[in-house]
Symmetry: C2
Subunit: 462 residues, 2 copies
């Protein structure tokens, strides 16, 4: 056993420090089909003080540490080398305080998103971050990766939902910045540094998050439109009519809709499969009668004015699950095609249609039988792309990445809207950020983690 | 003439480098009754390249530089010592690009806020930051101080309106981070560092800002309520009824309302002066008929249910100016009382009423004839306090600060919601931020500005 692991076990006991053998029985990722966790040790702190002392020791030993949350990251940001120590926040899973008057909740970083949603719901509150991985992902990871998800159009991304943070720096210093105020200009807004830093600048142990009054009504429809322009006009019309009731505006390209509503999928199509674009639109509100009337009138008006071609409203829980299943059950793709490469890009709405047409044609010119499935958070300018070309090797993946990412540079798009950089997108960071920006990121990394022990090799290219 | 000023004149010419004598004919602050600008030189760059070269030279000479915008800062963040060089962005005043489709505007830092508002309005767009100093303040300063203002309740503070920044670092490096995307997780979100950093980390030269479709309707009312609780219930009711139409919710304590609507003020009272609290409520929208009906019905319902005691709607431009004048024409206080000390604090809405009662009583116990005027952005948890006790010396000011700021610490309030720290609030920063937070601010300052030339002595306590 290495010196540092002995020291850690001596300090924290065997129940908080798993050996490589013990760690190997645990899953390394809930996303990738990877084997067991491969690391020097897995630390399971129970308090911020534990995290602080653990990092002090790792700092002393120049020991790399990889923070672990729900392990749902898709870009390798939680991957470990055998010589790295993993530190999981899973035991710090308390919802500490709910303030329904001032609409804040204070949580430990290891709280699972869905558990937080459910917990605050019993107090009549909404925590508005919502995403497919909510059953496993943890708040600390949501913050470290600045998660987006299905309701960002209305409530913003994770950065907009965080009021305060407690973070442990590389040397074990606890920076408690648990602000609960909407406006606070007392010095630098330090929390911003850690949000989206993918565990490379500090380990998030606690957070103050914004709550909303829990909506009482939910109106949801699948809508068919005959062009991208009309999808955009529909978005503008929905914003104007439904105001901030409009919560989700998910665009599905035809291929994806067809795949998800054809056998062997268990979902039947709520609308015919013949349209080029489908929108899953949802509005949340507080007045059952008014909201429903307004939503129906809006759809009717859109039909009469031929802005949309067809629409189906979800009337009951069963239909909600059906409609949202079509959008969210992306794992189904993996049962049809293998391998499938997943991408997450961001670009101006005005560039979307042309961009997808271009890359579809370029992919087809290389792999005539390629499958390209596109859907995403149109209202946020954020799309997810699934590509399957029958090949699975690294050069193929690299070629697809090149095809998809390079056209983003001249139009000011980003190689990631939500997923972050991790290990996988490091080679392409230069397409979305200038060399001066990357140099400044390094300056900050060096200042906060001079020994480079926090999630080394992630986010910043060599 | 000093070596550096000679070098600067040689490089940029006399038209871009004003001598101390030339600078002294210019005002040092539009807020304080100060004399002329007192500095080693005043630089007037015309391009980002100018700013870069100027900072390169200052860096070489270890020369302190104070960035200047519209000089409306109220906490001394733009004050200069005679040995410091001021660098004004006033000549970089171009609105460079308005993108009405993707709702962004790219501006130089020296654009005056009102000019930006007016410019984008001609394209049917709204830039939503709005504050009393809009006729003088510049966008660069609004960003550097993370301005809030009158519409933050709906649109957020400046931090929420900035998509991208171009910044010149202390050594002259230009970091161009002119992102236009709503979601971009490609590495650290560097712009966050500079927003609210009061010119201590870099000089902002250019920004990409969010636009909104320009509202077409404006419904405004002065409302009287008989308790703070009812003001809060009114806020919740307005959010529920008017949704994100609700744009401003300004609370005025009785003393302030009485002062502003009594002679020699030119404003008469729109409502009797007998109520303890007044709310100036405004809703912006897009549908003339619907919005007016909804607004009137909302007020009527509030009257019938006795949530509010009285209300007056502004029907024409003249009344809008009248109503908003009562709230905004704060300079009037200075014509009645002298000296007046101005404060800007942030606290939970649930703490506001008790806090104001406590400090009023404490102020009165020291100065029985003290005047305390309170009003502010209740919906944001942000209040402005004007205190006049007849004395004008530094110990008096310090004692008032102590009385006002110290009770904020146990309730997690902030010594500044909007104005920032500058010089004036440095002694009190420890009340709102921990020593670890302040140490981390220093680490960042040191990493980005190792020679300490950018706005030295501001924001960070010695």
């Amino acid at each position: 056993m290495s010196d540092i692991v002995e020291r850690l076990i001596d300090t924290f006991g065997k129940s908080c420090v798993l050996t490589p053998e013990e760690a190997s029985t645990r899953v390394a990722s809930h996303w990738k089909q990877s084997g067991g966790l491969n690391c020097l040790a897995l630390l399971l702190p129970e308090t911020t003080e534990d995290v602080s002392k653990m990092l002090q020791i790792c700092h002393e030993f120049h020991q790399p540490v990889v923070p672990h949350g729900g392990l749902t990251n898709v870009v390798g940001a939680a991957d470990t080398h055998p010589n790295e120590i993993a530190l999981s926040l899973e035991r710090m899973n308390q919802v500490e305080q709910i303030d329904v008057v001032n609409k804040t909740v204070t949580v430990q970083a290891g709280v699972i998103l869905q558990q937080l949603q459910d917990n605050v719901a019993t107090h009549g509150q909404l925590f508005s971050l919502d995403l497919g991985a909510k059953g496993s992902c943890m708040i600390g990871g949501n913050i470290a990766s600045n998660a987006g998800g299905l309701q960002a159009l209305r409530y913003g991304v994770m950065r907009n939902l965080v009021l305060g943070l407690e973070v442990v720096l590389a040397d074990g210093t606890v920076v408690s910045s648990l602000n609960k105020l909407m406006k606070n200009n007392a010095g630098y807004d330090l929390k911003q540094l850690f949000i989206g830093s993918e565990g490379t600048l500090g380990i998030i142990t606690r957070a103050v998050l914004k709550l909303e009054e829990r909506p009482k009504t939910r109106n949801t429809a699948f809508i068919a439109v005959d062009s991208f322009e009309k999808a955009n006009d529909l978005l503008l019309a929905a914003k104007a009519s439904l105001k901030n009731g409009l919560t989700s505006f998910e665009l599905l390209w035809q291929d994806y809709y067809q795949l998800m509503t054809s056998k062997p999928s268990l979902f039947s199509p709520p609308l015919p499969q013949t349209y080029p674009f489908y929108v899953l639109l949802e509005s949340l509100g507080y007045d059952a009668e008014k909201d429903k009337t307004q939503f129906e009138e809006f759809l009717e008006h859109c039909l009469i004015t031929e802005l949309i071609d067809d629409a189906a409203m979800a009337q009951a829980k069963k239909e909600l699950d059906w409609f949202w299943g079509i959008r969210e059950n992306v794992e189904f793709i993996f049962s049809i095609h293998r391998p499938v490469f997943l991408f997450d890009i961001s670009l101006a709405i005005s560039d979307m249609d042309a961009y997808i047409k271009t890359i579809r044609s370029e992919l087809q010119s290389v792999w005539p039988d390629v499958h390209l499935y596109v859907f995403g958070h149109m209202g946020d300018g954020n799309l997810h792309l699934f590509v399957s070309c029958g090949e699975d090797d690294q050069p193929t993946k690299h070629r697809i990445e090149e095809l998809l990412y390079k056209p983003l540079q001249p139009i000011g798009g980003s190689i990631t809207g939500e997923h972050g950089i991790g290990l996988e997108k490091k080679p392409w960071l230069y397409l979305s950020r200038t060399s001066e920006e990357i140099a400044l990121m390094r300056t900050i990394k060096k200042a906060l983690d001079p020994r480079g022990i926090l999630n080394p090799g992630k986010l910043l290219p060599e």
